[in-house]
């Protein structure tokens, strides 16, 4: 739409529909601020977007999206912005049409798809059934985002799946007295988290079971323990060893529970606070502490945008920001959007790191490299994971500790597998993603090759040939930008950092609340108060005893006339009998 907006005066203008911005939009609208929410893309979600196969392929084949405004004339009171998204595509390929499919391609002249003509028909016809996340994200069952979804009643719009299993890639256990073999066999083992899981686990030794249970139980009040006092500022792994945790258990705790990228980077204090967050979410909705939204992560963003829209926000997609307009007091007064319209904001402007001042473009920093696969075979067999025969599917998150695939693997690889049970793939197909952190200055080729090796070998260990089952593969790099990005530090200009690859939402929610507080300075508003229920209050019910006795709310007289009573009793009894009969059918 190249039209100008009819209204050009707002309280807050927000750019990009990432989670922080969506939360903000919802929260601001609930306290009656006028919000304009723009997004450069033609979809909601920002960096947490979820795309179907067609959209994903467009994203992949287009490559990095950027617009350079540096050649615009410099205006007084306006800072020109450059837009550059965080993505660099490293590799992609897909299964081509078979010759039989080619022969019938004539029939598809009316196919309205933007997928390449030589792509396998099965993929093309099911393109809409895929929900591919741009970055892996999970909700802690007892974390900030779930508490917010409940308190605001926004959770009403959404459905979730509890992750079925958390796995870690570990070497085989060597029994006491046995000589370690030349090459260790590695495989994925499920992390046992409940006492029941631990009891039936055959991989963990008996004493390890005891130490693991003690550790999990103690982590709800670890601060008071003297051992913790001693090790607080020491490396986390030293503290774990002091608690008699074996290397296997340390792997479980560091990579699966604390969800760290490597074992050295964190001290005991930070490590334990992460452990506590994980453990306190256990058992709330299932045996793992994670929820995943059906249809992908962007559902969350969309739900909050929906709230904002219901409460009066204006949404415009495919519209970006070219200039930021400000006054002499260094307050942002508005923006000039890509359609050339000047839009004013009285309270503030929120944007993300896709924008930076025109002369400052970041191309190198730490990043996340992600490999997305569409496969006919699962890496984690749903029957084994759920323990049921003929299981429909599962959702699994797994970790490959650093060094498992050689010294080149400096960081932990996070693997996720979802399928039709998360409404992310059609029946019979699996969406597998591998994600690893990449340091600034490392080579793209090296990380690409590492991910390819890992995914190929993982399939091999199940006697599956990668090329036989993988119908679509894409590898891309996402920058983790932070810092000033060259914009002047206006008080009412707020920048949202890039997603940093951590699976949970805690940081994003805090950031949204933080900006909200600043934007509504001094007014002490509640962040996303409860939405009223559209269905109305529950009806007044007759209490059970009265109902069974045949006494109703509408009973007028206290007089217990014999005939009257017999009649009403029979009526209700007939009802019961009818119900019973229908029950038996």
């Amino acid at each position: 739409m190249a039209e100008h907006l009819p209204n050009d005066q707002y309280d807050v203008i927000i750019s990009s529909t990432g989670l922080v911005q969506s939360l903000l939009a919802g929260a601001l609208c609930r306290v009656e601020k006028k919000v304009l929410h723009l997004d450069m893309n033609d979809r909601y979600g920002g960096q947490q977007s979820t795309l179907n196969l067609e959209e994903f392929h467009q994203f992949i084949s287009r490559g990095q999206h950027s617009t350079d405004q540096s050649n615009h004339e410099k205006k007084e009171g306006a800072t020109s912005l450059t837009y550059q998204d965080a993505y660099k595509i490293l590799h992609f390929d897909y299964k081509k049409k078979t010759t039989t499919q080619e022969d019938t391609s004539e029939q598809n002249t009316f196919r309205r798809s933007d997928l390449p003509n030589d792509m396998d028909e099965a993929l093309v016809s099911q393109s809409r059934r895929f929900a591919i996340d741009l970055t892996s994200q999970l909700l802690f069952s007892n974390g900030e985002i779930v508490q917010l979804l409940i308190s605001s009643a926004v959770g009403r719009y959404l459905e979730f799946k509890c992750i079925d299993a958390i796995m870690v890639y570990v070497p085989e256990q060597i029994k006491k007295g046995q000589k370690p073999p030349e090459t260790l066999n590695y495989r994925f083992e499920k992390v046992p988290l409940t006492k029941g899981d631990i009891m039936k686990n055959t991989f963990v030794s008996l004493p390890e079971k005891s130490y693991l249970v003690k550790f999990i139980t103690s982590c709800m009040d670890y601060e008071s323990q003297p051992e913790f006092q001693k090790y607080q500022n020491e490396p986390f792994i030293e503290y774990l060893r002091a608690k008699n945790l074996s290397p296997l258990l340390c792997s479980f705790i560091i990579y699966a529970i604390a969800m760290l990228q490597d074992e050295k980077s964190v001290n005991a204090r930070d490590g334990m606070s992460r452990v506590k967050l994980f453990i306190s979410s256990l058992g709330r909705y299932g045996s793992t502490p994670f929820l995943y939204p059906l249809f992908g992560s962007a559902e969350l963003n969309q739900a909050f945008c929906r709230v904002a829209a219901v409460y009066g926000a204006t949404y415009v997609l495919r519209r970006g920001v070219e200039n930021v307009v400000h006054d002499v007091n260094e307050n942002v007064t508005g923006i000039e959007c890509t359609q050339g319209q000047l839009l004013k904001c009285s309270s503030g402007f929120v944007l993300d790191r896709d924008y930076c001042a025109s002369n400052v473009v970041v191309s190198e920093c730490n990043s996340i490299v992600r490999q997305v696969l569409i496969s006919d075979s699962a890496l984690f067999d749903p029957n084994q994971i759920t323990g049921k025969e003929n299981s429909l599917g599962c959702a699994v998150v797994a970790y490959i500790p650093p060094g498992s695939f050689g010294n080149d693997q400096k960081y932990c690889v996070t693997v996720m597998q979802v399928d039709q049970t998360s409404s992310c793939a059609p029946k019979g197909k699996f969406l597998i993603s591998l994600q690893i952190k990449r340091d600034q200055g490392d080579s793209d080729e090296q990380v690409l090759s590492l991910l390819k090796t890992i995914s190929t070998r993982l399939f091999e260990s199940k006697n599956i040939v990668f090329d036989d089952v993988v119908a679509y593969q894409a590898v891309y790099r996402q920058l983790i930008r932070s810092g000033n990005c060259g914009l002047p530090a206006f008080e009412n200009l707020f920048v949202c950092d890039d997603a940093d690859g951590s699976l949970d939402y805690g940081y994003l929610v805090s950031r949204a609340k933080n900006v909200f507080e600043k934007l509504t300075k001094g007014q002490d508003f509640e962040f996303l108060p409860k939405m009223p229920n559209p269905d109305g209050e529950d009806d007044q019910r007759v209490d059970e005893t009265s109902r069974l006795l045949g006494l109703g709310l509408e009973e007028q007289s206290a007089k217990l006339d014999q005939e009257e009573v017999v009649e009403s009793k029979d009526e209700t009894n007939e009802q019961i009998t009818e119900e019973q009969e229908t029950k038996q059918d």
Binding site: D197, L206, S210, S546, L551, D570, T577, Q580, Q584
Partner: protein, 419 residues
Amino acid sequence: MHNRPRNRVVDEKELDEKRKKITKWNQLKNQIFEERKSGAIDPNQLPKLNNLILLAPEFSSFWNYRKEIITDQLSQVNSEEQKRDIYKKELALTEQVLSERHTKSYLTWHHRKWCIVHVPDLWQNELALTSKLLSYDNRNFHCWNYREFVIKLLNLNPNQELDYCYSLLTTGNEGVSNYSAYHYRSAMLNRKHEEQQIDFDQLLLEEWDLVKNAVFTDSTNQSAWFYNKWIQQKMTHSEEFIQDQVETCESIIEIDGECKWATLTILWNEMNSNKQLSEERLTFLFEQIENLIRLDPLRKNYYLDVKSDLLLLHSKCLQSDNVFKANDLNLTRFDAIVNNAKYENVVELDLSNNHIRAIPNLSSMKNLKRIILDHNKIEFLENVEGLDYVSIKNNQIQHTDEKLVNSIKKIDMEGNPLI
């Protein structure tokens, strides 16, 4: 709560509603009784009883009235299918009662049993029903008993039930202490042993493996330890098994620092063992008993009894002339001597200056002639009929039985607070 006065604010409106309900209930109940008295044994009465049963499932008259009507109905109906339908209606009612939170109603379960025997095609379903109810409350013994009843009807392989118990035990955080599941396993093991002729000791060893996993996972979980006590008792004496038990318990104590149940299990095992214990070992075990008394002062007397048993079993108090003398040892009981074949030939028993509280049944000590129990804490003179000499000075006896005293040749009861 005890000792707290009930100060409920009296709400007239509430009371009035209650009165209304009571009046209605009485009226309906009396009506039913009258109708029955006047001979109304017909199916039309059944619907009237439904609501009343839902309200008060433990009011037996209504269930019995139903049984009367049903039995009458059944005698008038010919086809098997019609009969089954009648039973199915009853089952539906019991199910409704159970699902309305009356899951522990004796009469409802009884009525269900009464009906289900006649409806074989629903037996398999019953398992699913009990599973569901057990998932809400895994200690509902009505449900467990009913399940066992159905298993017998179905003649199911106990292996399936053992698997079911296993899945209950390994679910969530609470499963590991599911006392009922362990107990049910023991019942299933008995069946498995009988039906499949598998060596019981072999089955017990598998259970011990299960217990090992349970107690390492949670060493404070007493359900598993109690189950182990049963395993221990049933296991025919195997030194290897006892050794394994003791080592496992010692590992747990090492990891935990101290564990009451592991210590107690070691003691139970050592008492079962036929091995003669060394002085060193005995001293160690007595230390453990002191530990237990410190850890668990509420059960001090029990631990003192255990200590007495241990002392007597491994004592060197039997002299060459078949006199057993054990004084000043703080013994609280001497049952361990009585049932032990080692002491069959004892002629004289001297246990003065201890803390013994009662005289056990001495009939297995066929050669016993004389017993000396001075300076103890005995309250009742019993089990000493026909002995030559009983010295029971300075105890706590208040009454004597004339017949008993006359049967003893010589008795010394000085220093007792006789009334």
